[in-house]
């Protein structure tokens, strides 16, 4: 492969639940289990899955906003999990994040300008450059100087999300993690933000980790897509392969569940039964076997590993080949 920006190796993240210390039965949320994934320089990697599948946790673990329980996160040649706080702070300049709800991620008591100055201050940019950098960036995201003296509540959701993007890009990062950046926005505004992200990426040569539950948005922006289920990466590959030839039964079900305009659903399709199991007590073997239409005894016992298929994507399922054949 050309140029790997981020290499995540066997990442595990467990969240300990309170209680249980008396009986010795500590309960643990298995948020991420043995995830290995890479992000190439200049690509958009989309991460999809339902709530609780660990996609946000993975994004946060890459940025070290959560300390992984085990595993490596390589940024270039440095392992981020082993860096000191001071060194990590330096590295943070290269990786920024945009959150889902812009109103919640901007301080309500600061003007936009105050919020935008903070990252420049933290990372010791020369004071005389602050305003010129901010003005240029505001213009780049389609806003003007007049917005700088406003407070967040005076701006619309779309404008606030543009400001969140501007704040993240002020430090000229290499990697931008976008955690559901358009979920809080209306469709017409969502389209504006997606277009902005797409333009910025090509202009500046950014790398995105794009996290979303909305498959159509992910499909539109991403070069590759990773599908997660209950803390596991179940399938990953080129966008077109994942969308047109999904191999994992979960990916298939997910794609079929999305209501699409003007596409009448195959009447024979039955929606996935049941609910996502609890990540505190994940099922044995393949984690999807409780809802999988093609599960067999093997699936309840042995956990499938990611395997490269002829079609080009990596899939973790015992029976993919059998079913696609």
């Amino acid at each position: 492969m050309s140029n790997t920006l981020i290499q995540v190796n066997n990442l595990v993240k467990h969240f300990a639940l309170p209680g249980g210390w008396l009986t010795g039965q500590r309960r643990v949320v298995h948020a991420l289990e043995d995830v290995t994934i890479d992000i190439q320089q200049g690509e958009v990697l989309g991460l999809v899955g339902e709530s609780g599948c660990g996609k946000t946790t993975l994004g946060r673990c890459i940025l070290q906003l959560e300390k992984p329980t085990a595993g490596q996160v390589l940024f270039g040649n440095t392992d981020l999990t082993r860096l000191s706080k001071r060194a990590l702070r330096q590295k943070r300049r290269d990786m920024q994040i945009v959150f889902q709800n812009p109103l919640a991620s901007l301080s309500p008591r600061r003007t936009i300008q105050q919020s935008l100055i903070e990252p420049l201050q933290t990372h010791d940019f020369p004071k005389e450059e602050w305003l010129s950098r901010i003005h240029a960036m505001m213009q780049r995201v389609g806003l003007g100087k007049q917005h700088l003296d406003r407070y967040p509540h005076e701006l619309s959701g779309g404008q606030l999300q543009r400001i969140s993007v501007a704040r993240a890009l002020l430090l000229e990062p290499k990697l931008l993690v976008l955690d559901e950046p358009t979920s809080a926005l209306d469709v017409s505004i969502q389209a504006q933000i997606i277009n902005l992200l797409d333009e910025l990426r090509h202009e500046i040569g950014l790398t995105y980790l794009f996290i979303s539950h909305d498959l159509s948005v992910v499909e539109h922006l991403s070069d590759r897509i990773g599908v997660m289920y209950l803390g596991k990466l179940v399938e990953i590959g080129q966008t077109a392969d994942i969308i047109n030839n999904p191999a994992h039964p979960y990916t298939k079900a997910l794609l079929q569940s999305v209501p699409r305009v003007g596409v009448s659903r195959d009447p024979s399709h039955t929606p996935l039964e049941g609910n996502v199991p609890s990540p505190i007590y994940p099922p044995s073997g393949c984690r999807f076997h409780t809802r999988c239409p093609i599960a067999e005894t093997l699936c309840t016992q042995t956990e499938p590993q990611l395997e490269l298929l002829d079609t080009g994507q990596w899939t973790a399922c015992h029976f993919t080949n059998k079913e696609t054949a």
Partner: protein, 336 residues
Amino acid sequence: MSALLDVENLHIAFDTSRGQLQVVNDINFSIQAGEIFGLVGESGCGKSVTCLSILRLIPKPGGITQGRILFQGEDLLKKSSREMRRIRGNDIAMIFQDPFTSLNPVFKIGQQLFNVVRQHSTRNKTQARQHILSVLDNVGLPDVERVYNSYPHELSGGQQQRVMIAMALISEPQLIIADEPTTALDVTIQAQILRLLRALCDEHGISVLLITHDLGVVSEVCDRSAVLYAGKVVEAAATDELLAHPTHPYTQGLLAALPISSKKGSPLQAITGTVPANPGAIQGCVFASRCPHVFDACHEKHPPQFTVSDNHNAACFLLDDRIAKDNQPEAGSTYE
């Protein structure tokens, strides 16, 4: 065939310190028995207050300033509050967006449903329990005895929403108003819930007023739909017709803004600008400030509803031959 629900000329306004804010402005639609009617629009377009107004549940300082809401031929706005209490739950029931905040966290599911049954029927305790179990079974919940004895937090989001639907169904209403019933749910669960709503309509002849912002959901379950923008119905038609041949520039814009496979690699068509803050104060078309085809007439007065074809109306001057003759959009300037 007369309509089950007829909303005519509905106006809703909120009193604020800066004067009256008109949030719904002359909305008309009707729902037939046994159909799912979709009301689509972006946040702030007035879809939620419209459905609250049908049950006369608009919180103060808001209120209905004009119009009629005919349910089975009778005007709900003329009913006494005592009569409205009978209608709510009995004839018209409601499902809200977030099931977890709609269920009381300190009572078991069975108890909450039991109260509803005792309120709305003369069943004794045993009959009530039997009835609840059968309705829970009807909405596809597994192990109904266990659900009956569970607290809301012990159920998943999808199960909670099924309980809400069971609660709405429990006194066998003719109309269910569902306000974004699947927005808080994951797609695989959303698919289950939508399928359930469709089945209830087909099997029991219940009508559903479905409020949503998701055109995909509309496309999947609604028979007919209306598109709302800034407190006005801008276009209404059978869903297939609406999505295949949108005529109002706003509907066209919404569809063009959706990311779909065929558009990958090219920029999405965004609608420029934002929704006007006080649409009631606008003299002309409420969409004029964002419309790509705007011309003089649009700023002068509200466009009336024009008939596009049978059961397909849109409020846009482009459909008026007299005014729009010189202003027809040129080829290429429209949304794809």
